[in-house]
Each structure stands twice: as C-alpha cells, then as structure tokens.
C-alpha cells in the first residue's frame, strides 16, 4: 500500500540574486513497510526532501500526499496535529527534551495525543524494552550515552504509532557499535511491526541495511534501487 506520494516536488532557495534548487522536480512513492535510505553528497537535497516529507518545510511547488492527505492543504495547526499522529522523527542530534526522563520523553507525544496514562505507560515500557533501555527509563538524557539517547529518540518516534519514521542522519553522531545496535533495532521493528523507515544518510552501514536506496544529486533522483523487492 502506498503511503507517500511525491509529485514534481521543487524547493528553491533564493540567495541574493541566485536561485538554488535544493529539490528539483522529485517524483517518488513510498510503500508501507519500506526500509529506505536516501543518499547523496552534501547539498544534494536529502535533508530538504526529508523536511518537506515531514511537513517541517514548505515546498516551492509540487505535492506531497501522505495516505491521501495533501500536506500543502493543511493549515499550520492542522499540520502539527498531522505530524503528531502520522510521522515519527529521529534527528541527527537526538534532540530529546533534556528536562524529561527517558520514559517521559517517550510518553510525551502520547500525552499530546491525549492517550490514557495506562496506555502510555504500557507502550512506553514496551518500546524502551524493544530498544534495550529497560532499567534506564528514569534517566535524563544527560545521563545517557549518545547511542542510548538515539534509541530513546527511536522509541519516542514510534510512540505515537506513526505511519512512517523519518530519520535524518540518525547514526552520524554514533560509534560503530551503537550504530550497529540502533540499525538492528530499527530493522527488527521494520520486520516485526511493518514500520516504514526513511533515512537520509551518508553512512554506508545504513545503506547496507536498507532495502531500497534512493540517490539524490543536485536535488534530483539519479537512481532508485530496490535491493529487496520482495520484502514484506
């Protein structure tokens, strides 16, 4: 089932008189359960594409439809609500809320969704266990290693039961062991729970794990390789 449809997507930045096409006419569809890596050199438009896909940035032209909803048609507050219910984010610098514990960080989005305390606590413990952080739920981010923080970020991204997770360079600040660990967790969640992951990355280890690799250059897709077309 197609969950993301991108058509003729363009993002242009104006720098004085010069126009820079960060994304330049991208057409793309993402199916449910994909484990996709978007790769390309710096400045190729990976992050810009992910930002627009996550409704964090507005395209100059073109359309993004997520589950039949056109993001461009949503008002600002509706867009925030849409993100909360449909999209999980994993950032390069973890970006956990520093004054909340691991458990509270994971619970936070569910609280915004208005879920019951019982449901929140059950899902939080389940997710923290899934990312291997059982026993560290009461630690604040500053007391966790980079790898542990990123695993909390993954748990937070999944807490809202999103349609897909966008991960912008999720392993950029991690050592190889933590990277391996994190990728295994995400791959496991992808396989078991059919969660769609879309990464932007430079990391070859992420590319190796991905089932589909989309390469961007100068804001355009130059290759789209299905490594495991029968993945389900």
């Amino acid at each position: 089932m197609t969950i993301i449809e991108i058509s003729k997507l363009v993002k242009t930045y104006k720098d004085s008189e010069i126009q820079v096409h960060a994304v330049n006419g991208v057409d793309l569809t993402i199916e449910e359960g994909e484990f996709t890596a978007i790769v390309g050199p710096s400045g190729s438009g990976k992050t810009t594409l992910l930002n627009m896909l996550g409704g964090l940035d507005q395209p100059t032209s073109g359309h993004i439809r997520i589950d039949q909803t056109d993001l461009g048609a949503l008002k600002a507050s509706q867009l925030i609500d849409f993100r909360m219910r449909n999209i999980g984010f994993v950032f390069q610098s973890y970006n956990l809320i520093p004054v909340l514990t691991a458990k509270e960080n994971v619970e936070f989005v569910m609280q915004l969704q208005g879920r019951s305390k019982k449901e929140r606590e059950e899902r939080t413990m389940q997710l923290l266990e899934a990312v291997g952080l059982k026993g560290r739920e009461d630690s604040r981010p500053a007391k966790l290693s980079g790898g542990q923080q990123q695993r909390v970020a993954v748990a937070r991204a999944l807490a809202s039961k999103p349609k897909f997770v966008l991960a912008d360079e999720p392993t950029a600040n991690l050592d190889s062991k933590s990277t391996e660990n994190l990728l295994n967790i995400m791959e496991e969640l992808n396989k078991k729970e059919k969660i769609t992951f879309i990464f932007s990355t430079h990391d070859q280890r992420v590319v190796n794990k991905a089932h589909r690799v989309i390469t961007l250059e100068d804001g355009q897709i130059i290759s789209d390789i299905q490594k495991n077309p029968h993945h389900d």
Partner: protein, 406 residues
C-alpha cells in the same frame, strides 16, 4: 502535575544561578518596595490619625457658613433632635459636641494666642483618648470650671497645675469674653502643633465664656467602619438641610490630602523605576532562555506540540520566576515590617525638628495595611503577564525549520 507545568518548572532550574539571580532581583525589589510603601503609608496613616482621631473626627456637622468664616457667630443650636437625626444613621457610632474659638491667654508675664475647645469630657475621651494624655493633674469633670492646657503652652506661659490662666476673646455677636480659670491638668497632646496652643474646657463653661448659650461650632460624627465614610457622608448630606453642612475629614484638611497625594505620586515614580529595572531583568532572562532553547522548541513543534502549548510552557516559566520572587519578597517583608510597625524609627537632629515644626511626631512610622503587600504582588504579577507576552509571540512566530537548525 501537568507535563507543561513540569517541563516549565524543571526548565527554571536548568540554569540555577541565572534563575536565582532573577528571582533575587524580584525579591529585593518587592522587599524594598514594600518597605518604602509601608513607611510612606505609615506616615500618612499617622498624619490622618493625628487629624481624625485627635482632632476632627471623620465627619463634622457645622453651620453652613462656619467653615468659611470660622466665626463664633456661625454656630448652631445643640438640640436632642439634631443629635438623634444623626445617630439614626446605622453607620454612625457616636457624636461629640464642640465649641471652638480663639482667645488670648495670659499668665503673670506672658501672653499667647490659644485655641479654646469646649468639650464634653467623657464623650471627647471616646474619640481622642484625651484622658490618657494628661501627664500632670487630672482630667476634666462634667461640670468642671477648670482647664486642661497643652504641655507646650503651659511651658511657654510658665504655668502648672492649680495656676490660673486668664483668657480674653470676642464672644457671640461681639460680646466681650473674659475669664480666669484654674488649670486642672496639663496634657501632652499627640499633635505637637496643638500641644503648643490648645486649651480644653467643659462645653457649658466654654458656652458661658463665649456667651453662645446652647450653641456649638461643630458636632463631630464618628462612624463604625471607615470604609463606609463616603456612604455615610452621602446619606447625611441628603438628610441634613441648611443651615447645617457636613464635611469629611478630607474636605476639612485638603492641604493634608494634597500633600499625601503628591508624596504618594513621588513614591509611585520611584517604585515604577525600580519595577522597570526588575522587569527588564526578567525579560533578559526570558529572552536568554528562549534563545538557548530554539532547537528544543523546534523539536517539540515538529513532534506535535501546538505552538499555543509551547507558549503556555514559556508563560508558566515567566510566571514561576515572578511568583517565587514576589512570594519570597513578601514572606520576608511581612515579619520585618511587623517589627518596624511596633518599633517606629526615631528621627533626630534637624529631621526631627522639621517634623516637629510641621506638627508631626518625629518618627518614621510603618503601616501594615494589606495593600502594602498585595500591591507588590499585583505589580510583579502584571509585569510578569506583560513580559509573558514576549515568549508567547516568540513561540508563535518561530520558523520551524530555522529553529530545528539553530
């Protein structure tokens, strides 16, 4: 505790030193402002007390021309019907009759202009507690033929208890008024000005001296609750027709009201400067807190927090800083001012002389009226509310993508 409040509270303590410095600035501002206000209001209360409790009362009934002329000719008959018509008003506690005029008083060698006040000793004591101020001799009896003389006047005239004071004046409609009276007691009047010029005698004695018959210059009206003054005044004005007129203490002492108002305005300006400095201190802290956490705010909005909720968190943070500072300032200022109210600061030297010359006791008095405290809390609350607009606007205008890359 809601998550928003929890986040706001914990955020305050991310940079403890900065929060404590900001809280301390509010604390000292509230303390200083409460101290200053208490001292100002204490002085005003004392001034009003001096006039109301020791002299004029809250209201007075006069002949309609008396206040302009201050003449013994503009007096009115003291009738039981008149007194009863005033006492019929629920807020009126009691009334005190007086006959006041001026005379020239002499001892063996010296002469001085004096204020002669004819009183009913017992009812006058209800208002002014005059009996307690007698420091030599005794208080007047109901039909006493003697006098009570202010200590300053007695000293000036070199007179003591049982000495004779001779007085000469003009009585009702030009009749000569002259008499010699034994001094029953010397009083230390709470008003230094009156202390130098007051002579009390019984009402019948004064009516006889001024040949007024059963006439009064004023009926002092005391009320049960000072907050009801304006209402009582309005009702009495409606009921008492000419030739009577009724005046409040503010109307009888407009200079003092004006002096208090102008002094209060000066205090307000000083406090405004103080609070503006504090306000900018809080604003600076809030701006720093926002600038440092732009990316965090971006993440919160990205994962689904509505901007209004983010604004609420920042609002709580601002409110907490204001509340902690204001409450701690109030908690410390209350006991300090309670001690000060019991122990007014005595003035010495030239400052004491100036106060004495103006007819006030040479002390810095402190007030414990609730407004001294809640005005500070309200001011900090208003400042906090105004400053809280900034983070709310800031959260609303924040460009998400820029915030995420901050």
């Amino acid at each position: 505790m809601s998550t928003n409040i929890k986040i706001a509270w914990r955020n305050l303590w991310r940079n403890k030193r900065r929060t404590l410095i900001t809280v301390a600035s509010i604390f000292f501002g509230v303390l200083l402002s409460a101290y200053m206000t208490s001292m100002q209001e204490g002085s005003y209360e004392k001034m009003v007390d001096m006039v109301v409790k020791y002299y004029s009362g809250y209201m007075q009934v006069h002949h309609e021309n008396y206040w302009e002329s201050k003449s013994i000719n503009d007096t009115f008959e003291d009738t039981p019907e008149l007194r009863q018509s005033i006492l019929d008003h629920l807020e009126v506690d009691f009334v005190i009759p007086r006959l006041e005029s001026f005379a020239l008083a002499s001892s063996e060698e010296l002469t001085k202009g004096v204020l002669v006040m004819g009183i009913e000793p017992e009812s006058e004591n209800r208002l002014t507690s005059l009996k307690g101020n007698v420091n030599q001799g005794s208080y007047l009896q109901a039909n006493d033929q003697g006098l009570l003389v202010g200590e300053g006047l007695a000293n000036y005239l070199h007179l003591g208890v049982n000495d004779t004071l001779v007085m000469i004046s003009q009585g009702y409609h030009g009749i000569s008024a002259a008499g010699k009276y034994p001094i029953r007691g010397i009083i230390k009047h709470a008003s230094p000005q009156l202390n130098k010029m007051i002579v009390y005698m019984t009402l019948p004695n004064s009516q006889d001296f001024f040949s007024t018959g059963n006439r009064l210059t004023s009926l002092v009206v005391n009320i049960t609750d000072t907050n009801l003054l304006n209402r009582s005044l309005k009702q009495l004005r409606a009921d008492l027709k000419p030739p009577y007129s009724i005046m409040s203490w503010q109307e009888m002492s407009p200079e003092m009201v004006q002096q208090i108002e102008s002094d209060r305005a000066g205090g307000i300006i000083m406090k405004a400067v103080l609070y503006i400095v504090i306000g900018f201190g809080i604003l600076g802290t809030i701006m720093m807190m926002i600038a440092e956490r732009r990316r965090e705010f971006g993440v919160m909005i990205a994962i689904g927090m509505q901007r209004i909720k983010l604004g609420a968190i920042l609002f709580y943070e601002t409110l907490f800083i204001g509340m902690i500072g204001a409450l701690s300032g109030l908690l410390v200022s209350i006991p300090i001012l309670m001690i000060q109210a019991q122990n007014p600061i005595p003035l010495t030297g030239q400052a004491a002389q100036v106060m004495d010359d103006y007819g006030f006791e040479p002390y810095m008095f402190f007030s414990l009226t609730p407004s001294v405290f809640w005005h500070q809390a309200l001011t900090v609350f208003i400042i906090t509310m105004v400053i809280a607009i900034y983070p709310i606007i800031s959260a609303n205008r924040m460009k998400l993508i820029n915030a995420l890359h901050a």
